[in-house]
């Protein structure tokens, strides 16, 4: 059975899980954290991803990318002021696409997200000792079509086939439902780094059915950080009215301090900070009290509770009918968040599951099911927002309503306005409002190849299919002639098929280069370590090796040094191996063993 892992691709952190012999668990090496911060940093030697990127961020702010998930499938207009808070640079590309500019290069959010997925995949492969090709990837339930497509494209760029995209709260419900074996209505409150979702599921026997879902894809812990950062700015400007914070270093410094203040206030009534701005050398000390933090974020928590009311209405349930409230996402550890949830639902939330891991574990279980490992439960999910088309006067005509169980299919018949018209353009939108100006433009479908007929005579049946991933595909047939109309999709916020293929081709061409580059860096570092080892043990070598042997070693060190200047990783490896052979007699003593250990460590990398 082919393994399908589950990946929680989060705004702040990402992690993966799978089903082992003794049950589902996150994939982690002994002693190492399974969590990969969703941060990447461009350096002279390529991408750093995860913890290293996070650490190097403060010295390399404009090349350090975080919260990329918030940019997925969005445009500049929608992101608004958020873009200005980012230390890295966003530029507008073709159509309404956005890209991140790093030095000379521009990257789509999909490509950057792929770097995180690559890292997660690589770590999982190292732990499991097998290659991974397929994954279940989770997205916020309230992600629209463009955001889902963007996620799927990111996976393709990372060399992963998406077996399924599932909603984060639903993944959590799978883990919870299978664990607790309870029946009834469960509300999953998921407040992560950048998104908020509330979903209501009905658990009955083997079936977990999502009844309704609501949320906000631009609200999360990030915004709490921003509120704290803004409060810090205000405090500083009170003392020093001329202080500015627009440079990347200051932005990141404020963000990181705000983050640690927020974290500390989850278990302490106050948090003291000491800021030192590298550019100006200005320093500020102070104390942040939990009351102030709570009043800063209370409006945002209220917003999430409004979504809760909304979703209850959609589900036609009274709050008393909710049997359990399950919390998911790092931001739900904040005490005030828990308190407000408890008073809203009238019962304490279920906190036995780890809010950081539960989504990945649910995705891992779902992956196991898809791979054929079990079939004792079924998840029935919904499409979060209605899909429809623009009709006369800019009104939005819904074709598939929100909260419809997926997969779903609906057809709509179109005709022509003019004699012999052979094409029709249809604008596709997603949303819950009456007018298209209040909905999300997904793209334009151009129907071509309609047989020439009198106006109003052709009957073009357009079939809208939402698959089990919540992703829309459209096909069309002219009913009178039976001829299939061609459909060209122009996504407004996503990549076209052509663009996707080009990126994949480019990355394939670069993949070999990238691999060589990574190895080259590693081998150079190994060589440096080996040199240091040899120099340290040279006294011993003088005693235990003949003059001839010592000369050979010196000569070989020179050859390694020359290969280090070159660009060929394999050539460097050959020279390093030769050096290893020559220093083998040194293994008789302790320091020599140390050198050899360095060399062997290098071999295990290959």
């Amino acid at each position: 059975m082919e393994r399908i892992i589950g990946i929680d691709l989060g705004t702040t952190n990402s992690l993966c899980a799978t089903v082992f012999e003794d049950g589902p668990e996150v994939i982690e090496a002994a002693g190492a954290s399974s969590t990969t911060p969703s941060v990447m940093s461009w350096t002279d030697s390529g991408w750093l991803v995860g913890q290293e990127a996070r650490e190097s961020g403060i010295t390399n702010p404009e090349n350090t990318i975080f919260s990329i998930k918030r940019l997925m499938g969005r445009d500049l207009n929608e992101l608004g002021d958020y873009v200005n808070q980012l230390p890295y640079q966003i530029v507008e590309a073709q159509r309404q696409l956005i890209k991140v500019r790093i030095g000379e290069n521009e990257y789509t959010p999909q490509e950057l997200s792929a770097e995180i997925l690559k890292k997660v995949k690589m770590q999982a492969e190292a732990v499991l000792g097998e290659t991974i090709q397929k994954a279940v990837i989770t997205v916020p339930a309230y992600f629209d079509d463009a955001q889902r497509q963007a996620t799927r494209d990111a996976a393709r760029f990372a060399g992963l086939e998406v077996a399924r995209i599932i909603n984060e709260p639903t993944a959590a419900a799978i883990a919870y439902g299978l664990d607790e074996k309870k029946e009834g209505h469960v509300a999953v409150y998921d407040l992560g780094g950048g998104t908020f979702d509330i979903s209501i599921l009905k658990l009955s026997g083997k079936i977990f059915k999502v009844v309704a879902t609501h949320g906000n894809t631009q609200l999360g812990g990030d915004d709490f950080d921003k509120a704290v950062a803004d409060a810090l700015k205000e405090r500083i400007q009170k003392i020093n009215p001329d202080a500015t914070f627009d440079d990347p270093e200051s932005k990141l410094l404020l963000k990181q301090n705000a983050e640690s203040i927020k974290t500390e206030l989850s278990f302490s009534p106050e948090s003291s900070y000491s800021l030192e701005f590298p550019k100006t050398g200005l320093t500020f000390d102070g104390v942040f009290k939990v009351d102030e933090f709570e009043s800063l974020i209370s409006q945002m928590i209220e917003q999430t509770l409004e979504s809760c009311s909304h979703v209850l209405r959609e589900a036609k349930l009274a709050v008393e009918q909710i049997d359990e409230v399950v919390l998911v996402g790092g931001s739900t550890v904040i005490p005030i968040v828990r308190k407000k949830i408890e008073s809203f639902f009238g019962k304490p939330p279920h906190v036995a599951i780890d809010p950081y891991k539960v989504v990945a574990i649910g995705a891992g279980i779902q992956g196991h099911l898809l791979a054929g490992g079990r079939r004792d439960f079924l998840l029935l999910d919904v499409i979060p927002l209605a899909l429809g088309i623009e009709t006369l006067g800019g009104t939005f005509s819904k074709i598939i309503t929100g909260n419809t169980t997926i997969p779903a299919e609906e057809s709509e018949t179109f005709t022509t306005n003019v004699d012999n018209q052979t094409s029709i353009d249809v604008n596709i939108f997603q949303g819950e409002r009456e007018l298209i100006k209040d909905c999300r433009a997904l793209g334009q479908f151009k129907l071509r190849g309609i047989p020439p007929m009198k106006s109003g005579y052709p009957l073009v049946e357009v079939l809208f299919c939402v698959d089990a991933n919540g992703i829309l595909t459209v096909s069309a047939t002219e009913k009178r002639s039976g001829q299939k109309a061609e459909i060209e999709v122009i996504p407004f916020h996503g990549l076209t098929q052509f663009e996707i293929e080009r990126i994949i081709e480019d990355s394939y061409e670069h993949a070999l280069d990238d691999f060589n580059q990574r190895q080259l860096i590693e081998f150079r570092q190994t060589a440096e370590r080996v040199f240091r080892g040899i120099e340290q043990s040279w006294d011993v070598a003088e005693n235990s090796l003949s003059g001839n042997e010592r000369t050979e070693i010196r000569k070989q060190m020179e050859s390694v040094r020359q290969s280090m200047q070159g660009q060929d990783a394999q050539a460097l490896k050959v020279q390093l191996d030769l050096l290893g052979d020559l220093t083998r007699p040194l293994a008789d003593n302790a320091i020599g063993r140390k050198i050899l250990a360095e060399l062997q460590e290098n071999e295990s990398v290959i």
Binding site: E2, I4, A163, R164, S204, G205, K206, I207, R313, Q366, L369, L370, A371, G372, R375, L378, L379, L380, T404, T405, I406, P407, A408, E409, E410, C465, D467, A468
Partner: protein
């Protein structure tokens, strides 16, 4: 149970016939009254066989068939589950080629709705909760009455299928339902 979408004895998806209706999908006769528990059970049983999650490693053709069958099953279940959508669907099948007037309403209904609409506007403006819940209750009651009329009318049609006037009455009921629904939605969302 049997369904034309899935063969339980050979355990495989079946090709979807062109003119299949939602009642057939779930193995029910073409009849308004339906056993709700049984409807739910059949939906679950079929979902547990046909959902694309169980065909993730199947050949592309079978995968697509499972998507299509499940989409049809989902549409059938959600339509048959609620009385109004079930009535509307059944009416469209029973009407067939016959022509019904699409905009009929009971006498005085429209005038009554306008009056209700006006007082609703005022109440939403003033935020008079007690009066609002009064109107809400009144509308809910009317709505329930309409929904219970469907069964009576469909039953009548069963005994005299030549009387297409009954179908027109159903159409009238469904039209009134739409007005009531809209007003109820307004109260509940604002």
């Amino acid at each position: 149970m049997t369904s034309p979408l899935f063969c339980f004895s050979c355990n495989s998806l079946q090709t979807i016939a062109d003119n299949i209706n939602y009642f057939e999908v779930l193995g029910f006769p073409l009849c308004f009254e339906i056993d709700h528990d049984e409807l739910g059970n059949r939906y679950q049983r079929l979902s547990l066989e046909m959902h694309p999650d169980f065909f993730a490693t199947a050949p592309e053709k079978e995968k697509r068939l499972s998507e299509k069958s499940s989409a049809l099953l989902n549409a059938a279940f959600s339509t048959l589950r609620k009385p109004t959508s079930r009535a509307r669907y059944l009416l469209s099948i029973l009407t067939g080629d016959k022509r019904l007037k699409s905009d009929t309403l009971p006498e005085g209904f429209l005038q009554e709705m306008f009056t209700l609409q006006e007082s609703l506007d005022e109440l939403l403006e003033s935020g008079d909760e007690t009066a609002l819940s009064g109107i809400n209750e009144n509308l809910q009651g009317r709505h329930t009455d309409i929904e219970s009329d469907y069964a009576v009318l469909f039953k009548k049609f069963e005994t005299s299928p030549e009387n297409s006037e009954i179908l027109q009455q159903l159409q009238t009921q469904l039209n009134s339902e739409r007005y009531l629904r809209r007003l109820l939605d307004r109260i509940n969302t604002e």
